[in-house]
């Protein structure tokens, strides 16, 4: 091997060894609100809340949202709350959307755990409209929301897959939640997908800027972003090593809709960012992605 090549090789080895320190925020889950729908997902919601209460010392309140007064249905609901392990749960009357707004503006819990989709009930005074309520919830509140989408058994914080967005301000929030929630001895996988669609759109933008060579410009931006993301992920993995769980990272290039469903495999929780704005979650690809992967619990940030 020529000396020049050896210099290149060792130069890149040491360059690679520079790993930025990720200053994750300390996540405090002071108050957790669990929204019930009395489906078979209820116990999983309660179990997740209990685990977090135990680990974070959180106050947990269980709620069932009921639009209208209906004594018979209410009595039934109380019984179901009790059987779900939330006998201290409360039944909240009124417009669910208004309640969610209140949650977001006044109560501001650190985390909402919701059985999703919150199902309709047969009672005429049914609490919420199936599925749509979850949409309203996600739109109305920037509060991190853990959606339990199946009757999950075991800890959802055992094997976490966090889909890391590229260069957005909520990147650190995503790392922070992933690190905070992963169980000691658990596994955390940080996955960034270089979205080819987005790169194409970038190319279109570059096309109207004649001073930039479109192909080179796209390639350059993509390569630089990938390098930076690789560093960030390695920094995060390094931080994770000291946090008592196994962390690794990966960068994949392609269509997230094809890649992500194949990556979740044995994960117990998927963390999805809202690409910078929680209010846009519904319109974001993250939301579409979530719906492509049924059953897996999702933490929407």
């Amino acid at each position: 091997m020529s000396r020049e090549r050896e210099l290149d090789e060792f130069g890149s080895i040491f360059q690679r060894a520079v790993v930025p320190t990720i200053e994750v925020e300390k996540i405090e889950l002071g108050e957790i609100v669990v929204l019930h729908d009395f489906s078979d997902r209820g116990p999983a919601c309660v179990a997740a809340a209990d685990e977090l209460r135990h680990r974070f010392g959180s106050r947990v309140s269980h709620r069932f949202l009921l639009r209208d007064q209906d004594a018979a249905f209410e009595a039934d609901a109380r019984e179901k709350l009790a059987s779900a392990g939330a006998s201290d749960g409360e039944i909240v009357h009124g417009d669910p959307a208004a309640h969610v707004a209140q949650l977001a503006e006044t109560d501001r819990p650190a985390l909402i755990i919701a059985s999703a989709p919150l199902q309709a009930h047969e009672s005429s005074a049914a609490a919420v409209v199936a599925g749509r309520f979850i949409d309203a919830l996600l739109v109305a509140t920037p509060i991190p929301t853990l959606l339990m989408r199946s009757a999950w058994r075991g800890s959802v914080f055992e094997r976490i897959l966090a889909k890391i967005p590229g260069g957005r301000p909520d990147l650190i929030e995503q790392f922070s939640f992933a690190f905070a929630l992963c169980r000691p001895g658990g596994q955390l996988r940080l996955l960034h997908i270089v979205d080819e669609e987005r790169l194409k759109r970038l190319a279109e933008v570059l096309e109207i800027t004649p001073e930039i060579d479109t192909a080179e410009g796209t390639k350059g931006v993509a390569a630089a972003a990938e390098r930076r993301m690789e560093q960030l992920l390695r920094g995060a993995v390094r931080t994770g090593r000291g946090a008592g769980f196994h962390a690794d990272s990966d960068i994949r290039v392609g269509d997230p809709f094809e890649i992500l469903p194949n990556e979740v495999l044995d994960s117990t929780l998927l963390i999805l960012g809202s690409q910078g704005s929680h209010a846009e979650f519904l319109e974001s690809r993250a939301y579409e992605l979530m719906n492509r992967i049924p059953n897996l619990p999702v933490l929407a940030l």
Partner: protein, 443 residues
Amino acid sequence: MITIFFALLLVATLLCLAFEVLPKAVLSLTVAGISLFAAAAWGVFGGQAHGGGHHIPAPVQLIEWPTLGVIIGSSIFVEIASRSGIFTWSAIRLLKVSGGDPWRLLLLLGCLTLVFSAFLNNVTAMIIIGSLTVVACKRLELEARPYLLVEAFLTNVGGLLTLISSLPNIILGQKAGITFVEFFLVAAPYCVIASAVTLWMARKRFGIVPLTDKAAREEARQRVMEFDEWETVEDRGFFKASWFVTAGVVILFALQSYLPVFKSEDLGLQFVAFLGATVMLLLRPKAVGDALRKVEWSLVFFFVGLFILIGVCGDEKVGVLREMGRGVTWLIDHTGMFSSAILVWVTGILSGLTDNVPLAAMLSKMFDPATTSPDIWWAAIIGGNLGGNITPIGSAAVVVGVTLMKREGIKISFVGFIKVAAPFAVAQLVIGSLYVMLLRAIL
């Protein structure tokens, strides 16, 4: 006539090496071919090339196989060991210990250079440490030039530390019958003194001082803490095993001349080198192809040709080295207590001008181990190692340092380098001269 012919051939070879007319291996094999043909034509080998009742061709007898064995075995060993990450890992650990303070960084990188160049070949040591230096200086916003220069100067000092640290050591040390431990015990004090002086001079010359501001110290510390040594290690099991094997090989090198069986003349240091290489290959059997490819075969064939040329020149009938030896003996006899000191300068300057390997090979043939005093051997060893610091092309490690500077956009001319390097080289040679005079008194 025959003496003049081979003397001219030798001088022409040294000049061609100095001016890099041809790749070294090509040149030495060409010259070896010419010398063999001429020697055979003059009947130089008549009746000599026999051993144990079997005919052994002259070229085979002229080659110093133990030296080649050490070079090849060590190359394979180092190549596989370096894949484990033990060298890059250690380098980053030490960088972090410096806390990013410029003066401590210089001290620690200097020490690391000394140690690495003692156990690796000087070029590999300079490539590893120089590459780290460039990246670290960028992170710390320091000028890389002083660090790279000091490292280049110290690779040649570190090359003196052990019997296997450099080619002149292997050639001259083996011929003089110096054991690994003896070599280290004599060389280490010189290396420590010369390194301390070099670092002190660098501090003065380049104005490298410790950080005094607390905030600046903290910022520097944070910047070096961003280096993660484990990023350079791919397989932790192999990494740990490599540490054990490396330690074992160093211990075996040290004890080889004392251990039963190992001290047999039929085994020697080359056996230890190959043992280390074999164990590493057993740990990484799939790396055999790469490891063998990365042996510097051009260097090996350079040696093959060189040994043949020097061997022929050293033949009694040819008499070139005999005549040169007379000149050297005259010099030694007429300079009394300063003889070894003068030899340090002569070999130092000559090895700065041309390749130090043929110089060492010639000296090893000129000196008789039975009658040459130890300080003379040491003078040749010290001068042969240090001469490379005088010019930017004086040694391969210095060339690597200069290449790294150029890559970083640091301009340094031939004369500019000599202006900076000469005080360091002179100081090291002065200390070397005083040291061999001391050795003359005590050995």
